[in-house]
C-alpha cells in the first residue's frame, strides 16, 4: 500500500519533528539523486559536495514547511538541490566571469527528451514538459533549459544569443506563457 512517494512524505514529516533516524533514511534514499543534480549544475565535485551539504541542512531546517500538495515530494527535494547548486554556481561564475556558450538557432535540434524513468519522479510531469518544450522554437526552449539547469540569468542569455536583454526577456516570458498554456491542456 505504501508507495515510494508516500514513504518520502512520511520521512519528511518525521524530520520536521526532529527525527534523526528519519533524516538518515531520507539521505540514504535520495542523496545519490540530489548529488547527481548538484554535479550536473556545477560540474565540479568539490562544489557539488558543498552544495549537497547545504541541501540536507535546508531539508532539516525547512521540513516543517513542506506541505503535501499532490506533486511528488521529490519535486521539493530536487528544487532545493537545484537552487542550492545554482546559488553556488552563480557565486563561482560571478568571481570567474565565465563566458556563456552561444545559443545559435541554426545549430539547435529538437530535444530528444529524457532517458529512462526515474523511480521516484512523476512521469506525468516529465512527459508533459518535454512534449510542450518541443512545441517551443528550439532556441527558446534552450533558454528555458539553460535557466533551469545552469542558472543562466537574463544578462547571460542576452550574451549567449546576442539579443538585447529586454527583448530576450520578452521572448522568454512569451515562451513561458506558451509553455504554461500547453502544460495546462
Amino acid at each position: 500500500m505504501t508507495t515510494p512517494q508516500a514513504e518520502i512524505e512520511d520521512l519528511i514529516a518525521r524530520i520536521a519533528m526532529g527525527d534523526r533516524a528519519a533524516f538518515r533514511s531520507l539521505y540514504d534514499r535520495t542523496a545519490a539523486k540530489l548529488f547527481g543534480v548538484c554535479l550536473r549544475v556545477l560540474n565540479d565535485k568539490a562544489l557539488a559536495e558543498e552544495a549537497l551539504q547545504d541541501v540536507y541542512c535546508k531539508i532539516w531546517a525547512r521540513a516543517g514547511q513542506y506541505r503535501v500538495n499532490g506533486f511528488s515530494p521529490m519535486t521539493w527535494l530536487i528544487t532545493l538541490a537545484r537552487n542550492a547548486a545554482i546559488d553556488r554556481r552563480r557565486k563561482r561564475d560571478a568571481s570567474e566571469r565565465r563566458k556563456q556558450d552561444p545559443i545559435d538557432a541554426a545549430e539547435m535540434i529538437a530535444d530528444p527528451g529524457p532517458g529512462p524513468a526515474q523511480q521516484l519522479q512523476s512521469r506525468a510531469e516529465a512527459e508533459a514538459l518535454f512534449g510542450c518544450m518541443a512545441e517551443l522554437p528550439p532556441e527558446r526552449a534552450e533558454m528555458v533549459r539553460r535557466a533551469y539547469l545552469e542558472g543562466a540569468t537574463y544578462n547571460e542569455l542576452s550574451d549567449a544569443t546576442g539579443v538585447k536583454l529586454n527583448t530576450v526577456r520578452t521572448w522568454l516570458r512569451r515562451s513561458l506563457m506558451q509553455l504554461r498554456e500547453c502544460l495546462s491542456r
Binding site: F35, E49, G64, G115, M177
Partner: protein, 232 residues
C-alpha cells in the same frame, strides 16, 4: 518594476511565477513577487506546478553516490550542536526552558526541593508567522495532557494535531487533536505518561480529523520541549 519598458512585459504574475522558479526575477521584482505570493493562493499553486514540471529537467540525470564523509559532515553540522536548527528558529526562548529545567533539576539534587511528586510539565507552542500561541500542559496527578489556545485563528477546514516525540530517535506519535473551543484535555496511558518528561510536543496542521496516515502531512506549526516550571 525598474523601467517603463517593463510594464509592457507579457504574462503578468503568471509569467513572473515561472521566472521566479527559474531564478530570473530582478531583485526589486523578486520582493514584489514574494509579497504577492504570500497572499495569493493561485500564484502559490502556479509556483508549485512550475517546480514540479521543471524538476523533470533532472529526470535523465544519473544518480551518483556522494562520498560517505558528506553525511558525517552534515550530521555534525546539524546535530553537533546541543539544539536542532529548527528549534532555534521556532523557539528562540528555548534556552530559557532548558535553563529552567536545569535549575529545577539542580534544585532537586541539591535537596532544596524535597518533593517526590512528579512535577507538572509545560511547553510553549508558538507560531509567530500565524499569530498562534498555544500552551501544552501535562498534569501527572490526573494523568491529563492539556493544550490551551491563547491566540491565533483555528482555520475552519483544518485540524491541529498534537504529536509526541519521546526522543530524537523515535517516531512522532499522535496523541490527539486540538479542540476548536476551550481547553483540550486528553487522558494519557501509563506508557505515554512515562515518556513525557523531556519529550518534544509538536503541532501540525492537518486535514479535518487529523492525518489519516498516522504520520504528519504538515506543515508543522510549532515544537516545544516539555519541562517543569516553578512560576506558574
Amino acid at each position: 518594476m525598474s523601467g517603463p519598458e517593463d510594464t509592457d512585459l507579457p504574462g503578468g504574475w503568471e509569467a513572473a511565477a515561472a521566472e521566479y522558479v527559474l531564478g530570473l526575477l530582478p531583485e526589486d521584482e523578486l520582493r514584489a513577487f514574494e509579497a504577492q505570493l504570500g497572499q495569493d493562493q493561485a500564484l502559490q499553486q502556479d509556483v508549485e506546478a512550475w517546480e514540479a514540471y521543471f524538476a523533470a529537467f533532472t529526470d535523465d540525470i544519473k544518480e551518483v553516490a556522494p562520498p560517505p564523509q558528506i553525511l558525517r559532515r552534515t550530521e555534525a553540522q546539524l546535530f553537533g550542536k546541543p539544539r536542532a536548527p529548527l528549534w532555534q528558529q521556532i523557539l528562540p526562548y528555548f534556552l530559557g526552558a532548558v535553563a529552567a529545567a536545569a535549575i529545577a533539576w539542580m534544585a532537586m539534587f541539591g535537596g532544596l526541593l524535597q518533593s517526590s511528586d512528579e512535577p507538572d510539565l509545560w511547553a510553549d507552542l508558538e507560531t509567530p508567522s500565524r499569530g498562534l500561541v498555544m500552551l501544552a500542559h501535562y498534569a501527572p496527578d490526573s494523568q491529563t495532557f492539556m493544550v490551551r489556545r491563547d491566540a491565533g485563528d483555528y482555520p475552519e477546514d483544518r485540524s491541529f494535531e498534537i504529536w509526541l516525540i519521546a526522543d530524537p530517535d523515535s517516531a512522532p506519535v499522535s496523541i490527539g487533536l486540538v479542540d476548536r473551543e476551550g481547553l483540550t484535555e486528553i487522558p494519557v496511558s501509563d506508557e505515554i505518561a512515562a515518556q513525557l518528561p523531556g519529550a518534544t510536543v509538536a503541532i501540525s496542521e492537518e486535514q479535518p480529523g487529523g492525518s489519516p496516515t498516522g504520520v504528519a502531512q504538515g506543515p508543522v506549526l510549532s515544537l516545544g520541549q516539555l519541562a517543569p516550571r516553578e512560576d506558574l
